[in-house]
Subunit: 364 residues, 2 copies
């Protein structure tokens, strides 16, 4: 018996200190862990579902294959909208989703992804990573037994496909528009009849004229669903999604059981997947919009009249919901005060640079 | 002797397969590694130097403290501009710098950080992470015995502090402006006399009037150096730094010796530090610009006349350098063709959203 071993066996206070010996310590800090992730997205949306695969691969690469996360597409374990519940009740360890899908449970969820006239992509990153976003969301989500980290960002989305041109608020009256969440409520105030239709059913509804318009994501994802063939007018910007965040939700018990090392691995891998997902959109969207325009899509900006009416409607809805829901008010106030400071700064260098570059594209 | 051991000793082809046995494998895949990082930045620039500290902490957290990177500020091991050489010759394993500092060795280095009328911050991320940036830079840097990863981004920088207002290209003639690199060459074409002065010497030179103007970074960093007290006019945008990338340079031999697991840890930690550094700037700059304006700083946009003349001068310099330097031409062509596609897309949703938000700040 060596001195070290004798010391260890004699010291009652050291009962749990076996971890100090080389091989058990390694075994304990790097156990074999197998987790499952269920996504709200199908495999065909490779920037969305692909972000989760990138994340899982990074976790495996950083742990020498010891921490494996198996990614399941929507419907393989639970349907797409079941991702939050599945993480909450421990069916899986991770849900991969967009939190605004759950605004029916509580409208506060909307701030997890995007709200009308909210933050742009970089501002969302700043609010979640170095502002109050993650802390406020973890507080809010505690009662759902989950913790969250950003999983990706689509950038500013488009404002939807329309069968006919719309120029004024009057042109929106009675229009059947596939649009959900707070954005749907805003559009309703402008006279639209919001429609809730799953992604796969949009194309036939638009083709038949059962609906007049539909919004999805942006050029790269929209092109895959072929909307340009049945609705020629493609409006921008998607003012209800200035920079839509995708989210991981982790079952809290499972997360807390992980070694600290693996928790750090998850955090870092998630930021990598977030940043690479935005980068993939930024690489793919320019090519997709070129193809769409070459195939006859007509790009149209929303008129100022529509944008201003939508801003007014959004602020009314925020005031109503804030009066009724303390969670909503708390996160709303944090995000909007952050937004106001951001745009105070944005108007100077960032916007000044982009503005010159956009206006002088022909001379670049 | 067990069957396994006999097989192993008999199989010449398996000579290196000892790693298949459990405990040596763990020891080999998670060895104790101590690296040193030398930064081009002082500790006082907490967003810049702090990004390296964030990176080192993440690497330690993800390896249970086994992979330690000690961060040294400029001057502690080698002076700030020595970061590349120190990584190249193995004095340290990592240099933390901005590659455009080394444009005197080869102007191609400039594309590693920022060039006049180049990419904005998100476009830089996309080019490096999902475009050709990292591959092209690793090819270029091979002869310097280093490999690179983005370490952070400052966002669009400001256009400098001026003692007097400048409205036209004529107002720039003979002006002594502290500005370096390709941006200095562009300004020289516009009549400026570029000055090379270390950060710490700018304040007294501006105060005495030895120089008429100076550019540094943006509100948060500039405020620390107190330029607002000696030069009231703060111009924007810094058209030569649309989204300046900071860089890690890794000694190639040391990087290749690392277990694959640790290489993956470095990659993921670097993306985390990159994204958090940009987020920190986005959180700090709005507060800093408020304080500067409250203290009397006068914000001024560069006039279109100046911006257009600078764009023309930049394109002439790019053509000259491309004709002389194949490395420069290769990376220039990749970045600028990427930029042109990016702004084709940017003008639609991204710019449309920011444009409305900036113009309607008072109604938000």
């Amino acid at each position: 018996m060596t001195v070290e071993r004798r010391k260890f066996l004699k010291g009652a206070a050291l009962a749990g200190a076996g971890a100090g010996i080389a091989s058990p310590a390694i075994a304990q800090s790097a156990p074999e862990v197998k987790w499952r992730l269920t996504s709200s997205f199908p495999k065909s949306l490779d920037t969305l579902f692909g972000g989760a695969e990138l994340f899982a691969k990074a976790v495996s690469d950083m742990t020498d294959g010891k921490f494996q996360i198996q990614c399941f597409a929507a419907g393989e374990i639970v349907p797409g909208p079941g991702a939050l519940d599945a993480a909450q009740n421990g069916t899986v360890e991770i849900g991969h989703t967009a939190l605004y899908y759950f605004w029916g449970k509580d409208p506060t969820f909307a701030f997890g992804s995007a709200v009308p006239f909210g933050l742009n992509s970089r501002q969302q990153s700043a609010w979640f990573y170095e502002g109050e976003g993650t802390k406020l969301f973890d507080e809010f989500l505690k009662s759902y037994n989950v913790s969250t980290l950003p999983a990706g960002n689509t950038g500013c989305q488009m404002g939807g496909w329309f069968r006919k041109e719309i120029k004024t608020v009057d042109d929106l009256k009675g229009l059947k528009f596939r649009i959900a969440g707070i954005a749907g409520a805003v559009m309703q105030k402008l006279g639209v009849v919001p429609q809730q239709i799953p992604g796969g059913d949009i194309y036939p509804a638009l083709e038949k004229g059962t609906i007049d318009a539909a919004e999805w994501v942006g050029p790269y994802d929209d092109e895959k669903l072929g909307f340009n063939k049945v609705a020629p007018f493609y409006y921008y910007p998607g003012f209800w999604e200035g920079g839509t965040v995708l989210n991981y939700v982790f079952n809290l018990n499972k997360l807390n059981e992980l070694p600290k090392t693996y928790q750090a691995v998850l955090r870092n891998a998630s930021v990598m997947a977030y940043t690479h997902t935005q980068a993939r959109y930024d690489v793919q969207n320019p090519q997709a919009i070129k193809r769409l325009v070459q195939a006859g899509t007509k790009l149209r900006p929303y008129s100022n009249e529509i944008l201003e009416a939508a801003l007014k409607a959004s602020n009314e809805i925020y005031a109503d919901l804030s009066a009724k829901n303390a969670n909503f008010k708390k996160i709303h106030d944090s995000m909007m005060s952050f937004r106001n400071d951001e745009y105070l700064w944005w108007q100077v260098a960032e916007f000044g640079f982009d503005n010159f570059m956009v206006r002088n594209r022909s001379k670049l």
